[in-house]
């Protein structure tokens, strides 16, 4: 069985059962005020040039400012002020988005207090220690940490086991166990050892630790434009060029018509036409997308990974913890012929009292809930000899020294119990064998219960049906994914029969049974060869190659350093179900970009109807018919268009930050809905907005 099947604590899986919708975050007005200084700092042309659309607006603002100083008028100053506001609003959007990340970064930075490390020289040959600063630790150093001390750097536990408080990075107050070997060996610098003593091999260079990277990520310091953002920027830049030329070429045409335009009007027309709305909000959308992941305790190592998540075609999901609850549970007691169910339940319970495995506990729970058998404490039963499970016997049970002789109760795999019964002079009936086969065929695990009283021959009492319990709501979740065009593949170490039964019950599209890490890798490669993008979760070191190969590899925070390095996202909650949410966030990010681009371009139609008649109705009165909004005067019309253009940026900041509403559905219905809202809406809204602004602006002297 693949080692990825790490049991997930029950309390986490329960929260994961609730289908999460991508929710909105609220825009705090305080954030806007706090972001204002940053927004003004971004007016530096060296910063602005990175955003060609808004850079054009800034240059336009400078031009109108000079013009307004040279030839002051109310109109010139009104336009100038609103153009500057347009630029500032755009910067504000970005600053607010960054501000939210900065707040998180500050919290993280507090964990980065200077720690002293106890470095082991020549470990494991000697136990000699030396005290060094945490920052002096290098890759491959060994350090020892004892209860109450802070772990000085990222690494893997190589000796010992300890409980660690990781609340600094995960926000989860319950301590976690970290132990050498296995898949729970990774520790993070800045977290605190609560008990015991561990030796950790340092796995990161100073300044490149996990926390350092987290800080850089949430602050947006290492933010690079994603491929899709670049493509959109190219389109926006080319639209900007077209409109610049359109307006530049308009002046000689206007002069010929006898209506040469002022610089203020020409700049206004350019700004109204170029896609300022999306240009202003584009980077904020990207930052906010990363931020939404951070809010869900997922760290994406790059924006590229978030985008790829939206494109995923195939999800590889580990069965255990993702699709089913962590462990098999007893579902039913099936008695052998001539045995009372109560008797079977009683025996089953007895044999499981000392069984501390989740399966064992679930038998006790079932006996209590279904058959009313009170769980007996171990000490309650005198003369009881507990027979623990061993790999040799593959059975567990109890021997009770009763008056009528020794009562022996055993439960275990069918083969082992059959052997035990036969050895003790009994036979296992064909009916029991049938029950066993039936359960196996249904994908469950049969445990046979047998007993022997005194010197009487042993007899099989019946079978306990252990089954994997599919988490609630998973079937609906997979249906949604299917509607989104995403194929789900369940990965399990179970045999094909069991895997098939669970796959059918859970409603996944496909499954990979008896999966080894190599099988997983081969599956990913096969899907990718067909041009598909694959997402998976993993935590073990042997998952690392597959995590690196997958387009979206989400490493569990509980996993090894190797896994975390290989994946391009880390889930701090270590909840594999979150992969589905990550896909939704990726999609939402792209949809928000597309929706605002559509909105921005559609807005231009109304602006033309405001500005063109204002420019030329004096020479061609017929063009006055285009003033369908009945705007008050040329000056009020142009001012209103520019004010609308600026206000719409502010109005859309919340949308840009929280993303547009996303419901999992197929492409056609998504498109229909978004074209309806942002395309048609984008055509209509500015007509109303500009008219409303004009109703106010027309009373300002100088704009009438």
């Amino acid at each position: 069985m693949s080692s990825t099947l790490t049991p997930v604590p029950v309390e986490q899986t329960e929260t994961a059962q609730q289908p999460h919708r991508v929710q909105s975050g609220l825009l705090d007005p305080k954030l806007i005020v706090a972001a204002l200084p940053d927004a003004c700092k971004k007016l530096d042309p060296r910063v602005m040039i990175k955003n060609p659309v808004m850079f054009v607006v800034e240059v336009g603002s400078v031009v109108t400012t000079i013009d307004a100083i040279a030839k002051p008028s109310v109109f010139a100053w009104a336009i100038t002020v609103w153009l500057w506001l347009t630029v500032i609003f755009a910067n504000l959007a970005e600053a607010v988005a960054e501000g939210r990340g900065k707040a998180q970064a500050d919290t993280l930075r507090r964990t980065k207090t200077e720690t002293m490390a106890r470095r082991l020289v020549d470990w494991p040959a000697s136990q000699n220690e030396e005290e060094v600063a945490g920052t002096e630790l290098r890759l491959g150093d060994h350090v020892v940490i004892e209860a109450g001390q802070i772990i000085p750097g990222d690494g893997d536990v190589v000796e010992g086991v300890a409980s660690v408080d990781e609340s600094a990075i995960t926000g989860e107050s319950a301590p976690v166990i970290r132990e050498s070997g296995g898949d729970r060996s990774a520790v993070t610098g800045g977290t605190k050892v609560l008990s015991d003593r561990i030796v950790v091999k340092i796995a990161s260079e100073p300044g490149k630790s996990f926390i350092d990277r987290m800080i850089a990520l949430v602050e947006g310091a290492s933010r690079q434009k994603t491929p899709n953002e670049i493509a959109l920027n190219i389109l926006l830049a080319s639209l900007t060029i077209v409109f610049l030329v359109t307006v530049a070429a308009l002046q000689p045409m206007a002069a010929f018509a006898g209506a040469p335009q002022t610089l203020i009007v020409l700049v206004s027309l350019v700004v109204a036409l170029i896609p300022t709305t999306i240009g202003a909000l584009l980077s904020a959308i990207g930052i906010a997308g990363m931020d939404r992941l951070v809010q869900r305790n997922v760290l994406a190592m790059s924006g590229r990974a978030v985008e790829a998540a939206g494109d995923v075609n195939t999800l590889l999901l580990d069965k255990t913890g993702t699709i089913t609850l962590g462990n098999r549970q007893a579902a039913e007691f099936l008695p052998a012929q001539g045995v009372d169910t109560g008797e079977l339940a009683d025996a089953a319970q007895l044999s499981s009292l000392a069984d501390e495995t989740p399966e064992g506990r679930s038998i006790v729970v079932l006996a209590k809930t279904e058959y009313g058998l009170r769980a007996r404490a171990q000490g309650e039963l005198e003369h009881a000899t507990w027979v623990p499970f061993t790999a040799q016997t593959r059975m567990s049970g109890v021997d009770l020294d009763e008056a009528d002789g020794v009562h022996q109760v055993r439960k275990g795999a069918a083969g082992s119990i059959t052997r035990w019964v036969t050895e003790n002079g009994g036979t296992v009936g064909a009916d029991v064998a049938e029950l066993v086969d039936g359960i196996s065929a249904a994908g469950g695990t049969p445990l046979v219960v047998a007993s022997k009283i005194g010197n009487a021959p042993a007899r099989a009492l019946g079978v306990i049906y252990l089954k994997d319990v599919v988490k609630e709501g998973m079937k609906e979740r997979f249906d949604e994914l299917r509607r989104m065009g995403i194929k789900t593949i369940m990965i399990t170490g179970d045999n094909p029969l069991t895997a098939k039964a669970i796959a059918e019950e859970a409603g996944v599209d496909d499954f990979l049974a008896e999966a080894t890490p190599e099988d997983k890798m081969a599956l990913i490669k096969k899907e990718q060869e067909g041009g598909k993008l694959v997402a998976m979760t993993g935590d073990g070191t042997n998952d690392a190659p597959a995590l690196a190969q997958a387009d979206v590899g989400v490493a569990m925070n509980t996993g090894t350093m190797a896994a975390k390095e290989a994946g391009n996202m880390v889930d701090l909650d270590s909840n594999p179900t979150k992969l589905i949410e990550i896909v939704e966030i990726g999609k939402q990010l792209l949809i928000t970009r597309g929706a605002l681009t559509t909105f921005s371009i559609a807005n231009d139609v109304a602006k033309y109807f405001a500005i063109i008649p204002a420019m030329f109705a004096s020479v061609y009165p017929g063009l006055g018919h285009l003033n369908i909004m009945a705007l008050h005067s040329p000056k009020s019309a142009i001012t209103s268009a520019i004010i609308f253009n600026a206000l719409v940026i502010i109005g859309l900041i919340p949308l840009a930050l929280r993303g547009v509403k996303y419901r999992p559905s197929d492409a056609s219905s998504l498109l229909r809905r978004n074209i309806g809202i942002y395309g048609i809406g984008g055509l209509i809204v500015p007509f109303i907005g500009i008219k409303l602004i004009d109703l106010i602006v027309q009373f300002i002297p100088g704009l009438r």
């Binding site: 389109l235 359109t246 530049a248 018509a257 494109d311 999609k587 597309g594 061609y620 492409a667 074209i675």
Partner: protein
């Protein structure tokens, strides 16, 4: 039969005939572009020109072949005009002046066929046949070859080869354009178009004046003029001339010819990408623009403003009585929506609305259905822009026919949609800013401006029709419009080929339910909207000062 009924019948017959040809012609072109078999004659030709007919080229190599071929064509056509006086059948015409010859050479090689000359007063039969008519075939073939590479970009994967230019152009010329032209030239001759090597006949008219009647190999040039969406007339009057376009039937046939290849190419596209529904979606967009434009144009021409025109029952000025309002409106719509530019009436005499429609048709980028090949590649580029924006709105990296539209693809698509508007607007702006050039304008006000705007729109979009009204034979106009034609033709071709190369290298992404469907009515509507908005936003201010100002009172 009332003229309205006749008009309806013409239009419906046209739609019916085009629909009938859609599948067979489209499939036939797809086959000739994809088959690996060479005809014996073709193999011989490849041997002579030293081309390996089985080896495909990378896109830069394809582009180099195309540009070199076009450059040689321009040079040849230029020299032919310059030495005209030494050629046989020159009818005594002198050599064409240098700037005129350069303008004409470029015009015919770029499939524009803008004519700053009057055919019967400038060109001898050899120049018309060996020079101009040959380019009518080749420039049309080049357009189809370019769209073939773009389609191959979609169909091929993980390759840098987009086809073989020499093979493409040979097959398109010899398997498609030539056979159709030969058959239909005979039909035109049978209906009264002329085909001879005569010079001028001096005749006395009824009123006693003398008239000079020209002869020439007209029908052979006429067919390819329409079929290859060229538009350069043998005579100055173009398809209004009775020797080029004698009857109402030939008029209908010529409209059919100039539309038929471009309207069938979407089928070729659908066939080659293995999904005919994709072809239907594209042709639906083309057809809806054509229908809307034809309806608007006909409406404007049959409902003119002004007492005199109303009394005449329509704007008959500049129109041929034998074609009528409907026949002229259909022709004008079709010639401006393709890159043909042939005219059977004076576009300058169209009503302001009709003239505006003609101009807007060209501004759309001639994509409905557009020039041979160029119409489809123009439409596919707009489809890519539409898919990009819409694809984002469905939450995936946009992909068209399985190919992802990333930065590289959007760069070439954006450059493509930038090019023509920039040429038109900068050209018009410069012309209006230069006082001396404006002096060549015969009209003032909004109409005078429309004429200049029309000229640059026509040249940059490689249409070739004219509003006239300006004297364009001056060195400045010849040079400026020549440059507009060269850049308007070859820059977009560079971008299309680069895009084709980029697409061909990609591995296709399988379509899922999350993929934006590009064959459904929703996408047809979306693409139409993108076409309208992109074009409308770009040209609206200029149009407002021209036809809109003229039309709104």
């Amino acid at each position: 039969m009332s003229s309205t009924l006749a008009g309806w019948l013409q239009a419906l017959a046209l739609v019916g005939a085009l629909a009938l040809c859609y599948r067979p012609l489209g499939d036939y072109i797809a086959k000739l572009l994809t088959t690996t078999k060479h005809l014996a004659a073709e193999r011989g030709l490849y041997k002579v020109i030293g081309v390996d007919g089985d080896a495909d080229q990378r896109w830069p190599s394809y582009l180099r072949s195309l540009l070199a071929f076009s450059a040689v064509s321009v040079l040849f056509l230029y020299l032919l005009q310059r030495v005209q006086s030494h050629l046989m059948l020159s009818l005594g015409f002198k050599a064409v002046n240098p700037h005129g010859a350069w303008n004409t050479a470029i015009s015919f090689v770029t499939n524009t066929n803008w004519q700053d000359y009057s055919g019967e007063a400038t060109m001898g039969h050899v120049v018309q046949m060996v020079g101009l008519t040959v380019q009518n075939f080749l420039s049309a073939a080049v357009g189809i070859a370019v769209v073939a590479t773009l389609i191959r970009g979609f169909t091929r994967s993980k390759t840098d080869r987009v086809g073989n230019f020499w093979v493409d152009i040979t097959r398109i010329s010899f398997r498609l354009l030539l056979p159709v032209s030969i058959v239909l030239a005979l039909v035109l001759v049978a209906n009264g178009a002329i085909q001879n090597f005569h010079g001028f006949h001096e005749l006395s008219t009824l009123t006693g004046d003398s008239q000079s009647i020209p002869g020439g190999p007209v029908a052979s040039q006429e067919v390819i003029k329409e079929l290859g969406t060229n538009g350069g007339g043998f005579f100055n009057a173009n398809s209004a001339h009775p020797f080029e376009n004698p009857t109402g039937f030939t008029n209908w046939l010529e409209i059919f010819l100039l539309l038929v290849i471009s309207f069938s190419l979407p089928r070729t596209f659908g066939k080659m990408v293995g999904d005919n529904r994709q072809g239907y979606a594209i042709v639906s967009v083309m057809a809806s623009f054509w229908v809307a434009s034809a309806a608007l144009m006909t409406f404007f021409e049959t409902h003119p403003a002004g007492v005199a025109l109303k009394a005449a029952g329509g704007a008959m000025e500049g129109k041929e009585v034998r074609f009528g309002l409907w026949g002229t409106s259909l022709f004008a719509t079709s010639t401006t929506l393709t890159s043909t530019g042939a005219v059977n009436g004076m576009h300058d005499s169209l009503t302001p609305g009709g003239g505006g429609v003609a101009m807007f048709d060209m501004m759309l980028g001639e994509i409905a259905p557009g020039g041979t090949g160029s119409g489809l590649y123009g439409m596919l580029i707009l489809a890519i822009v539409a898919v990009f924006v819409a694809g984002l709105m469905v939450g995936r990296t946009p992909e068209y026919l399985g190919k992802k539209l990333g930065g590289r693809e959007m760069k070439f698509a954006s450059l493509y949609i930038l090019t023509t508007p920039l040429i038109v607007l900068i050209g018009t702006g410069v012309a209006m800013a230069l006082g001396g050039e404006r002096a060549n304008m015969l009209n003032t006000g909004a109409h005078g401006f429309s004429e200049v705007l029309y000229a640059f729109t026509s040249a940059a979009n490689n249409n070739g029709s004219a509003f006239a009204g300006i004297t364009v034979t001056s060195p400045w106009w010849d040079t400026a419009l020549g440059l507009a034609m060269v850049f308007g033709r070859f820059l977009p071709i560079v971008f299309v080929l680069a895009l084709a190369g980029s697409l061909a290298q990609q591995q296709p992404v399988p379509a899922t339910k999350g993929t934006l469907p590009t064959h459904k009515p929703l996408f047809v509507g979306l693409l139409s909207g993108v076409v309208l908005i992109v074009v409308g936003l770009t040209y609206f201010p200029a149009l407002a000062l021209g036809p809109i100002a003229e039309g709104l009172h």
